[in-house]
């Protein structure tokens, strides 16, 4: 955090100055470690074993926050008799279909009821909830299951508040993690038992009524074949300890781009519509009602999905969207499986996808297995790159690695390339959503230079031109484009669209065009329009709330009048949980919101995350639906049962509980289960440039004996597009390097400031060597493990240059998030520079031969 979010880290230091203990868990010693009370190096790719060990410690020693757990989580809920855990089936859960590598999640549901998830693979429940409407055959894992059976009501699940019933979530959890002992953590993670016990005690001692503990993570947790389950493991721990919805608690994702949160909320992502409404999967006879019936929850704030979706369709298609035509629901394209970025690259290689826009991203060096990205772009008809400088994604056809090796010849590449210069943040109005869900407006300072334009300008005018060219078309394919509301006011010489008018549409308006103030106002009858329901209120009263800048020094610690947080300017989500079931703060020290008997409403420092007049004693009738069906003790208002899920009955593709699996490419055997890897991890169709490696002692494992992990530096940004061209930053970090321990340097003959060559089954790169104690060797399964640190900012262009670490990666992905495994993979390292030209390709081929690698290697269940 001190490295990649240094200015945010000042608050960690403020907490430390007030007595907080800071623990840093990372394979490397970094600036964060230097300022922490305890640094715990661990083997990359083993955090579920580590977190599972803490969960076991908390359960085994009764260190959990019992009142919180009983009242606010699904710990007391009974599971079905036919559910089987990884403990019963040696590493898989019940419902595995080994032929299709998917789980049928029917047996994971609560006893006697059926519940819908607040996010994730909500399409899992489609067939059960619609009694038919089967999806198309090629649907990806977790998106449709043929289990059948009668649809179950979403009634009250059976509970055992003593937490002793053998089938209650609490007992299942206890059994699931019973073998995650300090001894096992030491063997798997390479963390000595004494250090591990110290972490357990620090975390447990600092949680409960009086104290809270926060976990902070970044892509070190997400970029794994089990990344979502890493976060889930932290969720279980934090929920057991009562650290969610309370000040100083939480699981905080530190995101790495100015508006990566915004581009997730208003998603330029294949599977979502704005506000986390799923983009429909293809089903037979699917209309708006069938979709909502299948995907919406019966209770809580996902119940009004129809209101949110109809308002979005009205924002998209305006007057064309009417009750008679299902508000143009049919205009939405449908999914048939994963269409994530790595599948898109495969579609480009196959020739299905012919045109590609790359907008401020640099996949030619920034994506996993960068070579596949470049080969895919070399098979396009056309490519449009919008950026500040000529990033590698714009120039691979001229000077990319494949030109050097002779694998591609510029003259043979038929891809037409357009480079369009982009406007900077100082040259346009607009809002970023930061990592704490805060929308902050930045104002235009000057006009963009030359032909540089904002992406607002580009998208608006591209749409305008396409609509112009298609005007008069009677092809039904073109109706959604022609019916689109696309009449934004523009200003100035450049005919720049008014960003605030777009923000107003995102916020939403009523039938008279008045700005809405809250998503509670959204209607399903078409009388409201709203471009992103969770952002409703950002333009309340016609005022740009994101532009509010009352100085922090003139406000309390919540600083509610600085910018605007979604939803409803609420700064801490689920803050109802900061009070006990009766509505009193768990402790004075940790008071955030509470029930005021006199006013008969919720009050406090933050906007309460519950209907303000819903008393703690409120118990709606059993047949109630929607937000009103939540009781006064249901703090997790997005969940269909109002509770935090220690156990996830639906929504995940790879299991209701996190289990430790080894990374796709690992030198070590899985000590916990017979299954080495996540059995339903997402693998791409075999491709000669995406070979997986032998693992866990299989013949050939020894060819790649070291564990590598990628990361960022303070002085550069992501794939370098915004930093390698800046002389200041290039001077601070002038070229690519790798970090190795003195012991590994001695073993391989690496010299400090000399060169190293790093090889995987996919590629070879060279890096300057930094020999440092910051990369300590660990003892894992009785032997010494060396890890190699690889900052991934580089490519051949710009002032600061070097090979791209992402050349080494394979594409095996998390089956929930489709994110690649950058943070733990196996490599070899040797002294000296890499070969040039065809010899470079030959070297990788010789490694594959030595390790006995073919198309099947590493694809085992």
């Amino acid at each position: 955090m001190a490295e990649c979010h240094p200015v945010g880290f000042q608050w960690v230091m403020e907490a430390k100055a007030r007595g907080a203990k800071v623990i840093h868990i990372d394979p490397r010693f970094t600036r964060t470690s230097a300022l922490s009370d305890l640094h715990v190096p661990l083997r990359a790719g083993t955090d579920i074993a580590f977190l599972g060990g803490i969960i076991n410690h908390v359960l085994h020693n009764d260190r959990y926050f019992r009142d919180y757990v009983v009242a606010y989580t699904n710990a007391p809920v009974l599971l079905r008799e036919d559910f089987r855990d990884t403990e019963d089936l040696d590493g898989v859960f019940s419902g595995l279909d080994p032929d299709h590598r998917t789980y049928d999640n029917s047996t994971w549901q609560y006893e006697g009821t059926e519940i819908q998830a607040a996010s994730g693979a909500r399409d899992q429940e489609y067939e059960k909830r619609t009694e038919g409407g089967s999806s198309v055959a090629e649907a990806a894992r977790g998106e449709a299951h043929g289990a059948g059976g009668p649809p179950l009501g979403e009634g009250e699940p059976e509970r055992d508040e003593t937490l002793t019933h053998p089938r209650c979530v609490f007992q299942v959890l206890k059994r699931h993690y019973a073998r995650y002992t300090p001894e096992l953590v030491e063997e798997v993670c390479g963390v000595p038992q004494a250090v591990f016990r110290q972490v357990c005690e620090l975390v447990a001692d600092n949680s409960g009524r009086e104290r809270t503990t926060a976990f902070v993570y970044s892509v070190g947790w997400t970029q794994h074949t089990v990344g979502v389950q890493y976060i889930r493991a932290a969720s279980i721990l934090q929920t057991l300890l009562g650290n969610i919805g309370r000040p100083g608690g939480g699981i905080l994702a530190l995101r790495g781009h100015a508006s990566i949160q915004g581009s997730t909320d208003i998603p330029t992502l294949f599977n979502l519509l704005p506000g986390y409404i799923p983009l429909p999967h293809a089903h037979r006879q699917q209309d708006l009602s069938a979709f909502v019936q299948a995907e919406a929850a019966h209770k809580g704030y996902w119940a009004p999905m129809r209101e949110y979706l109809v308002s979005l369709l009205k924002a998209y298609w305006g007057e064309a969207a009417t009750p008679d035509n299902d508000f143009c629901f049919d205009y939405l394209p449908r999914l048939t499986g994963s269409h994530a970025t790595y599948e898109t690259a495969m579609a480009q290689l196959e020739g299905t996808c012919k045109g590609y826009f790359v907008l401020g991203e640099n996949p030619a060096v920034g994506h996993g297995n960068s070579k596949l990205q470049r080969l895919a772009m070399a098979n396009l008809d056309w490519l449009v790159v919008r950026d500040f400088s000529l990033v590698e994604s714009a120039t691979w056809w001229l000077d990319g690695p494949e030109i050097e090796t002779g694998e591609l010849r510029t003259e043979d590449i038929r891809t037409e390339v357009f480079f369009l210069p982009a406007a900077a943040h100082t040259e346009k109005d607009g809002s970023f959503t930061n990592t704490q869900r805060l929308l902050q407006w930045h104002h235009q300072a000057v006009a963009p230079p030359g032909e540089a334009r904002s992406d607002l300008w580009f998208t608006f005018h591209l749409g305008r031109l396409i609509r112009q060219k298609l005007a008069g078309s009677s092809d039904p394919m073109d109706r959604p484009v022609l019916d689109l509301t696309w009449d934004y006011p523009t200003k100035g010489e450049l005919v720049e669209p008014d960003a605030e008018a777009v923000l107003a549409e995102i916020n939403g308006y009523d039938a008279d065009g008045n700005p809405l103030a809250s998503y509670a106002q959204l209607k399903a009858d078409g009388s409201t329009a709203c471009g992103c329901w969770i952002y409703c209120g950002v333009y309340a009263d016609g005022v740009n709330q994101a532009a509010r800048r009352k100085p922090g020094a003139e406000q309390d610690w919540v600083a509610a009048e600085w910018a605007w947080a979604w939803p409803a300017n609420r700064r801490t989500l689920y803050n109802r949980a900061s009070a006990d079931p009766e509505g009193r703060p768990w402790s004075d020290r940790k008071a955030l919101v509470w029930w005021d008997e006199h006013q008969a409403r919720w009050v406090g420092h933050d906007v309460p995350d519950i209907d303000v007049d819903k008393s703690p004693g409120d118990r709606p009738p059993p047949d109630a639906t929607g937000p009103g069906a939540l009781s006064g003790v249901d703090p997790f208002i997005m969940q269909a049962d109002g509770k935090a899920w220690l156990y996830v009955p639906t929504g995940l593709t790879d299991g209701p509980l996190p289990a430790h699996y080894e990374p796709q490419d690992s030198p070590f055997r899985n000590l916990l289960y017979g299954h080495q890897r996540n059995p339903v991890r997402q693998l791409l169709a075999p491709h000669p440039d995406n070979r997986y490696q032998p693992s866990g002692g299989d013949p050939g494992t020894e060819v790649f004996p070291y564990v590598a992990t990628t990361y960022r530096l303070t002085e550069h940004h992501t794939a370098g597009g915004m930093s390698r061209w800046l002389p200041y930053l290039a001077e601070l970090q002038p070229e690519f390097f790798c970090e190795v321990s003195p012991e590994l340097a001695a073993e391989c003959g690496l010299e400090h400031t000399g060169w190293a060559t790093i090889v995987s089954a996919r590629g070879v790169i060279e890096a300057r060597v930094l020999v440092t104690d910051r990369m300590p060797p660990l003892t894992v399964q009785g032997r010494t493990l060396h890890q190699v640190g690889l900052p991934y900012h580089w490519g051949p262009n710009g002032y600061s240059t070097g090979d791209a670490a992402n050349e080494l990666l394979h594409l095996a992905m998390d089956p929930n998030s489709q994110i690649q495994e950058s943070k733990a993979f196996a490599v070899d390292i040797r002294a000296g520079r890499r070969p040039r030209g065809p010899a470079s390709v030959e070297l990788v081929r010789s490694y594959r031969t030595r390790a006995g690698i073919d198309a099947r290697t590493g694809t085992e269940l």
């Binding site: 990566i260 998209y316 500040f388 591209l462 995102i506």
Partner: protein, 188 residues
């Protein structure tokens, strides 16, 4: 120059007699440095902004003089950053005004061996034509007799460095075009 002024201009004298015995402030100042003013002092206006790098969202003050950005500094008002910027944020002036930025449209023809200039309007029209064509070529009304109403012909990547409003228009336009392969940095 009188004797008094001459002696006063001698730093060691000022150091010994003035309020700066360590010679690290007023005593060491030359006439030239005394007349210098920070470039932010002469700015025509200060525009409130947000750092474009990571997602912490540090406040920035953008100083503009003669319609050019002359300096970017941390905004002390921000309760998030309290005026601080990291090395990247501090380099924002170079990011936005540096000479590594391209200012004009470039085009590489199929099989071409170099860049050529292209007028922005021409480029926009060419791109619009290509979108229409690739969209049709990749169109799928149905897959396995199930309605899909989509195209696999075009894809878009990127959004995490862009504004919410920009992401909104990208998603809206491409969804209406039937494109589903719309992705950004959040996927990696």
């Amino acid at each position: 120059m009188g004797v008094r002024t001459w002696i006063d201009s001698w730093p060691v004298y000022r150091q010994l007699t003035g309020t700066d015995p360590l010679g690290r402030g007023a005593a060491a100042k030359s006439g030239r440095s005394e007349r210098l003013t920070p470039r932010v002092a002469s700015a025509d206006r200060v525009v409130k902004s947000v750092c474009p790098y990571c997602a912490v969202g540090c406040g920035q003050n953008v100083y503009v003089q003669d319609e050019r950005v002359t300096q970017i500094e941390g905004d002390p008002d921000s309760p998030i950053s309290r005026g601080r910027l990291c090395p990247k944020g501090s380099a924002s002036l170079q990011l936005t005004t540096g000479d590594a930025r391209e200012h004009y449209v470039l085009h590489r023809r199929p099989h071409g061996t170099g860049w050529e200039r292209l007028d922005l309007d021409t480029a926009m029209n060419m791109i619009a034509d290509r979108v229409i064509e690739a969209r049709r070529a990749g169109w799928q009304w149905q897959v396995d007799e199930t309605r899909t109403r989509r195209t696999l012909g075009i894809a878009s990547l990127g959004g995490a460095t862009l504004d919410n409003e920009e992401n909104y228009l990208i998603k809206k336009l491409f969804t209406a075009l039937g494109a589903i392969q719309i992705e950004n940095q959040a996927r990696v």
